[in-house]
Symmetry: C2
Subunit: 205 residues, 2 copies
């Protein structure tokens, strides 16, 4: 973890991620943002074209990585007869926890939670078009493992699970790591906790 990233574009993206998480997309101005990044005000429009395009790039940088890991993990277990509900949940949750615990990525989940709360059509369309296939594939696999649920019940429960996880990983409600466990162990314990809760909810009678 270095103090200042290399390029101007990356400095802007990192500062934007933090300020969007803290003050929202409207609440964080380009003047605060460029001041925090140590770059000129005009650099945002020069490198990204507009504030909206900057917002999209903030999402793209993390979601490409996050959903890539998710799809890789899912593809290893999807359709196999020995795959359990917990396996699929682990493929969904663990990449997010890894991102959440590595250096600068911890604030991104809060940006994502904001995007959920904002019912902004432009942002929703962007997320749906670029990353909607990930949720569809996970939902399909959940459906395979929960054949007793109607399609309606399945959608509902997946929605409840994603809501709970987004809320949990964006908040500082996150359980603090005890000083006598390594971060790797703590991350495993957190994942176990979330997976057990989500699996029980999905499997509800």
């Amino acid at each position: 973890m270095q103090a200042v990233p290399h390029s101007t574009k990356e400095r802007i993206l990192t500062a934007a991620e933090e300020l969007f998480a803290r003050h929202g997309f409207d609440g964080a101005s380009l003047r605060q943002l460029t001041a925090a990044a140590g770059v000129n005000l005009a650099a945002v429009n020069y490198h990204f074209g507009s504030k909206d395009r900057l917002i999209e790039e903030v999402f793209r940088r993390r979601l490409d990585q996050l959903n890539g890991h998710r799809m890789t993990a899912l593809s290893r277990i999807a359709g196999l007869p020995e795959t359990s509900l917990e396996d699929v949940l682990a493929a969904f949750i663990k990449p997010a926890l890894e991102l959440s615990h590595e250096g600068s990525g911890s604030l991104f989940m809060r940006v994502l939670a904001r995007a959920f709360a904002e019912h902004d059509d432009t942002l929703r369309k962007f997320l749906s078009e670029n990353y909607g296939h990930v949720m569809r594939q996970f939902t399909a696999e959940f459906g395979r493992l929960l054949p007793q649920l109607s399609r309606e019940e399945l959608y509902w429960r997946v929605d409840l699970v994603t809501g709970a996880l987004t809320h949990a990983m964006s908040g500082f409600g996150m359980i603090q790591r005890k000083s006598d466990v390594t971060e790797r162990v703590h991350r495993e314990q957190t994942a176990e906790h979330l997976i057990r809760f989500a699996a029980a909810g999905l499997n509800a009678p």
Copy 2:
């Protein structure tokens, strides 16, 4: 349900609730807001003092009612030996569903979801000071019914449940009512659905 509420204050509050839900607290301007309410721009600062105080009043109007119903329902069952986890969840969920289904209150849960996503200190402090005791009493009752959980696990699971429910009730992911069931029946079915999911999650092994 009448087209235009009586007083200027109520017209402002109703328009504010809708616009805050749709565009956020920063995104909705006082000019849009007063135009939608059919009142003069200066009326907000005359009747409420500032935009921030208006935001607080939007919360106060609904939360006084919502948490009043929640506390009444909880007080009827708290501490009794025959009370079940589902009973406590019902006391928490059903008042919110009733609010969510009556006329203009349906958008308020989206306002509440925004308040969760915004980590604004002023707003959090206001909500915690005025309504924190409600969550504390519900958490205490959950703890009584789930003695096998450590305090840490209890807090975590309650946080996951509130996250899931807030997310569910704020989204239009809400299951649509079929034309052959009354709204009252539909509300009962929705409550059953949420309660079953939450109880299973809280009771996870």
